[in-house]
Symmetry: C2
Subunit: 206 residues, 2 copies
């Protein structure tokens, strides 16, 4: 029995290198859910094989800034000269259609979502240790030792913001993490603050 | 990875006739949990086949009242001349041993637990409709139409207390309800308020 007519906005965030993308992929590979992934908008050029509307909405800098000005971005940030962000409209449409919308975003973006949609479910994907984070960043092989060190320091600052989230899911194994996120989604659909009003209406008890 | 050293106290409550006992049995029949059931204490005489320490702790009225006076009851109530209640000590020992302790108690008892152990997880087992509750109570065949009517009125008053709980689990099917409760338990073990302190300690991030 479903007492929520609307879907949940599930915000997956956490330090760079923690494996947010891998956890999200594992989550979507699981059965028995009603999840849609929110496609981000960006001004960076598409890489080989990337499809507009699937991997990203690829737009010009002018279009992106027009979206920001018009209040059409749920969150956005600039990295290395390019904008990245979440268009609000698709999120709202999917939520109204009863789908759970998953955002996989940086900690900074999660902060913006928290201000605009505090009813979202905020999940901090956390590394099992700082060493494991370091090893993951090194394995990527794309960054210098100095940049990795800076990322670890940034991760520590972000972990200090974890108190603002609803849940901490340690990415010890990807399956474990994805499984926990599904449990969180089921559980949130039973939370009193989300369902009580509809439940009482359904029963005719006021 | 388990960040909670202590188990959770899971309070299952809800109106009489909603099927709390059946849901609890289904919950314990499921795999992959760490649950123990808290055995209640009562002054009513054992029925045929009931075992002391398994079904209930059967005690005298004097012993029960001595336990109340000594602050050894987590909650208690009197029904039709007999005391029923939850001894505190066994609950605390099991929680400290990392087990999840399940209480299946009346709404009145849940109120007492809320005052003594607000960190417990409060789950309101709710009927899918008032008709279904009526039918369940009739099927028992033990009560007059008038008593059933009174129970329905009491159920309505109890549903109006559901806002004090953390979750509402509608007992549409027993399997669904038990499954949701397991999800809630998993989810609560990831809740920031329960794990953040231990997580940061584990990481050495303060």
């Amino acid at each position: 029995m479903k007492l929520n007519d609307k879907g949940l906005l599930i915000v997956l965030s956490g330090p760079s290198g923690v494996g947010k993308g891998t956890v999200r992929d594992a989550l979507f590979a699981m059965k028995g859910h009603n999840l849609v992934y929110s496609v981000s908008m960006t001004t960076r050029p598409p890489r080989a094989g990337e499809v507009h509307g699937h991997d990203y909405y690829f737009v010009t800098r002018e279009e992106f800034e027009e979206n920001i000005r018009a209040g059409k971005m749920l969150e956005h940030a600039e990295f290395i000269g390019n904008y990245y962000g979440t268009p609000l409209e698709a999120v709202s449409e999917n939520l109204n259609a009863g789908l759970e919308v998953v955002l996989e975003i940086e900690v900074q973006g999660a902060e913006q979502v928290r201000q605009k949609m505090p009813e979202a479910v905020f999940i901090f994907i956390a590394p099992p240790s700082l060493d494991s984070l370091y090893n993951r960043l090194r394995r990527r092989g794309t960054e210098s030792e100095e940049v990795i060190r800076q990322r670890i320091e940034k991760a520590k600052r972000e972990i200090n913001l974890a108190y603002k989230y609803d849940y901490i899911v340690v990415n010890d194994t990807v399956e474990n993490a994805a499984d926990k996120i599904l449990a969180i989604i089921r559980s949130e659909h039973a939370s009193v603050k989300r369902v009580l009003k509809n439940y009482k209406k359904m029963l005719g008890v006021e």
